[in-house]
Amino acid sequence: MIAIDRRTQSYPVVMPDRRLRDRPTPRRRSRRSPMAAAMVVAALAILPALLYVFQRTEAAKTGYTILHLQREFALLQSEHARLHATISSLRSPQRIERIATSELGMVPPRQHQLAAITMAPAIAAALPPAAPSLLQRIGAWLGLGEAQAHELGP
């Protein structure tokens, strides 16, 4: 039996081109150099460390400044205390009396040199307390209130 082969014939066909997006993109050569990338990475890694060192250095500097100022403050405080002691010794009653009697020729008041001024109680009560003068206010502001202290009694 004779079989007849089915004959096939193929024709060349021009197929449409693949869309652009379906085409695999050619590997483009990177324009960044690897050295720069390494530098960036290194910088990113080192930056916090640098910041930390900077901060520590600044803190140490500030610490030294504070230390210096503390010493200066202590010196000034010491000087202030010394001056205060000097003021107190200059104001001591012994010294004032010695100068008054030996240098200025003053004497303690005698009985007949004193006078008691009588004030009616009503008048005394009605009197307003004397307002401090400008000088007294400035003195108080400067902390010189001690000068008035000897007027206080028990």
Binding site: R56, T62, S88, S89, H112
Partner: protein
């Protein structure tokens, strides 16, 4: 470097080795290489093992020790100093402060010639060169030479070419601007600013404060790195004290006391000024005195505060207590009369008056006014031992008053069973009993407080460094010792004693003064009394009826005139009048007109 044998060149050695290698078979060469490699490996392993062993030793066994060393090198522990509290008078005037001074130290390790060093430094420090040489032990890095030296000495020492051998450290020293003023009250401190006497000792914990502690990393030159500092304890400065003492009144008391000592030739003396209603001590003067900043230059006996520590027989001032006990117990009435004999014979003892002022009878007021020993002895007999002893104790004799000054004595009050012979009678006029000046003034002040006894005190308040009141020292609760009627009656007798009695010289024009004189013989150590040695005193209040001041003046062993009314009463008058003017207390009666000048 190995030396090659003479006559043998490098080439000759190389050829010999090549020949030897050629003589070995491959197997032998292989074994040789393996053996050498093994030896090298073993050596390396041994070396490595040693290193590992060392590492384990350091990191394990030595870890704690090395860690401590490292910490010691890198960290520093610091004591944060505090300032000792200052002391002010009642008006805020500075009495004690702190002044920074230099202390000199030496570095013995850096000193080559100790003898020469001591010879140069000793005169400037006013020290014995041998003492300095003894201190300079060569193995030491630090030794104090002298602490708290004057600025002049420091300047002279700094001028010496002793770099590295001598140094200075800042320290605080107590400064007393008023020098000797109120020295017995203020007291003094030791070399480390610890209170040793007076208020400085009594209020040591208040004044001292609490030093802080901190740990900090150190830099290369040993400076602390503040940013690493950690506080272990916050420093707290000492609090300031405000005393009841008034600087001006204290000065008046000291000035008048010194004047009295010079005029009477008395060896010692003391003055107490108190606010009777509150128990506040305004002045406490004692002579001989001392300078608190240089206390070590005087004998320790001078450091004692005689007003609170020394006991003495009060003499006639004690008749006030006898009179109060007699009236308050109801054993004696103000109108009762007592005999006025020339003397009172008690067994082998005879009691007599110095000045016989009456011949027939005397009242209790007369006894106080004229200070009659015979009369006081009779009053004591009427009161009786048990009741009298009870009143003596009620007035606080025989026990400390509780004043806030250290070293207070309670006085000597024997129980009635020990009052032998004329003990009752002599105590009636203030002999045979010992009190402190403070006890006597406190007890007598009850007479102006309607019979209430107010304990004394010298500190008014405690303030922090900013001036805020931390603690106000309120007076201790008063207790009643006699009725107000009794107190007023005795006070009236005291007024009469000044107006027309033994205390006339204490009178102050314009003011009503109540007072009582005292002249006591000094007891001898072996018993009995010393001949010609007396303690003259005057106790008074002014202005009556509302006294602002209670003053007690005591002069020990005055020469010449020795009666309290003659030598102590004028001192009272001067102190009281100056103090009243200073306090602006107006006179109660018109003052006499000034004399007309021609």
């Amino acid at each position: 470097m190995t030396r090659r044998p003479p006559g043998r060149s490098r080439e000759a050695g190389h050829h010999q080795l090549t020949r030897r290698r050629a003589a070995l078979s491959d197997a032998e060469l292989h074994r040789l290489v393996r053996r050498r490699t093994s030896v090298l490996f073993v050596l390396l392993l041994a070396g490595l093992s040693l290193l590992v062993g060392r590492l384990v030793y350091i990191q394990g066994a030595q870890a704690d020790h090395l860690q401590r060393l490292a910490l010691h090198q890198q960290l520093g522990a610091f004591i944060l100093p505090t300032e000792r509290g200052r002391i002010f008078d009642r008006a805020g005037r500075l009495l004690v402060t702190n002044v920074e001074v230099d202390s000199a130290y030496a570095v013995p390790r850096a000193i080559r010639d100790r003898q020469a060093f001591a010879r140069v430094v000793a005169p400037l420090l006013r020290m014995d060169p041998r003492e300095i040489e003894r201190r300079l032990e060569p193995r030491l890095y630090f030794v104090w030479l002298k602490r708290k030296v004057s600025p002049e000495t420091v300047a002279a020492l700094r001028a010496l070419p002793l770099d590295g051998q001598l140094g200075f450290l800042k320290e605080e020293r107590r400064g007393y601007p008023a020098r000797t003023l109120a020295a017995h009250v203020l007291g003094f401190v030791g070399i480390d600013n610890q209170g040793l006497a007076g208020v400085e000792l009594a209020y040591e914990t208040t004044l001292r404060g609490r030093p802080g502690r901190a740990v900090a990393g150190l830099d290369g030159v040993g400076r602390p790195l503040l940013e690493t500092r950690r506080l272990a304890a916050t420093p707290v400065d000492g609090s300031d004290l405000v005393l009841t003492i008034d600087q001006v009144i204290q000065h008046i008391a000291e000035r008048e006391l010194e004047r009295a000592l010079a005029e009477t030739g008395a060896a010692r003396g003391m003055v107490l000024v108190m606010v009777p209603r509150t128990g506040e001590i305004l002045a406490l003067a004692a002579r001989p005195g001392f300078e608190p900043g240089a206390f070590h230059r005087v004998a320790p006996e001078r450091w004692v505060n005689p007003a609170v520590s020394a006991v003495y027989e009060p003499g006639s001032t004690f008749k006030l207590i006898t009179a109060a006990a007699a009236l308050d117990s109801g054993r004696v009435d103000q109108n009762d009369t007592f005999a006025c004999p020339p003397f009172l014979q008690l067994g082998k003892y005879r009691i007599r008056d110095v000045h016989r002022y009456c011949t027939r009878t005397q009242t209790l007021e007369d006894i106080i006014r004229h200070s009659s020993n015979v009369g006081a002895a009779q009053v004591a007999q009427v009161v009786g031992k048990e009741i009298f002893y009870d009143y003596i104790r009620r007035f606080g004799f025989g026990a400390p008053t509780g004043i806030d000054v250290p070293g207070e004595s309670g006085g000597i009050v024997n129980p009635p069973t020990a009052w032998l012979g004329p003990g009752l009678e002599t105590i009636g006029f203030g002999q045979g009993i010992s009190t402190t000046a403070l006890q006597l003034l406190t007890a007598a002040s009850a007479l102006v407080n309607d019979g209430m006894l107010v304990p004394p005190h010298v500190v008014r308040m405690v303030r922090d460094r900013e001036g805020r009141v931390v603690r106000a020292v309120s007076p201790q609760p008063a207790r009643r010792v006699v009725t107000p009627e009794t107190a007023r009656a005795v006070l009236r007798m005291m007024v009469r004693a000044v107006e027309d009695g033994t205390g006339k010289m204490a009178a102050i024009p314009g003011y009503t003064v109540a007072g009582k004189t005292g002249t006591a013989q000094k007891p001898a150590p072996e018993g009995g009394y010393l001949v010609g040695r007396y303690i003259a005193s005057f106790l008074g209040f002014v202005p009556v009826p509302h006294p602002r001041l209670a003053i007690l003046v005591i002069l020990d062993e005055p020469r010449g005139a020795y009666f309290g009314g003659a030598v102590a009463a004028p001192v009272f008058r001067e102190i009281a009048s100056r103090t009243l003017w200073y306090l602006r207390v107006p006179p109660m009666t018109p003052l006499a007109l000034p004399p007309q000048t021609p």
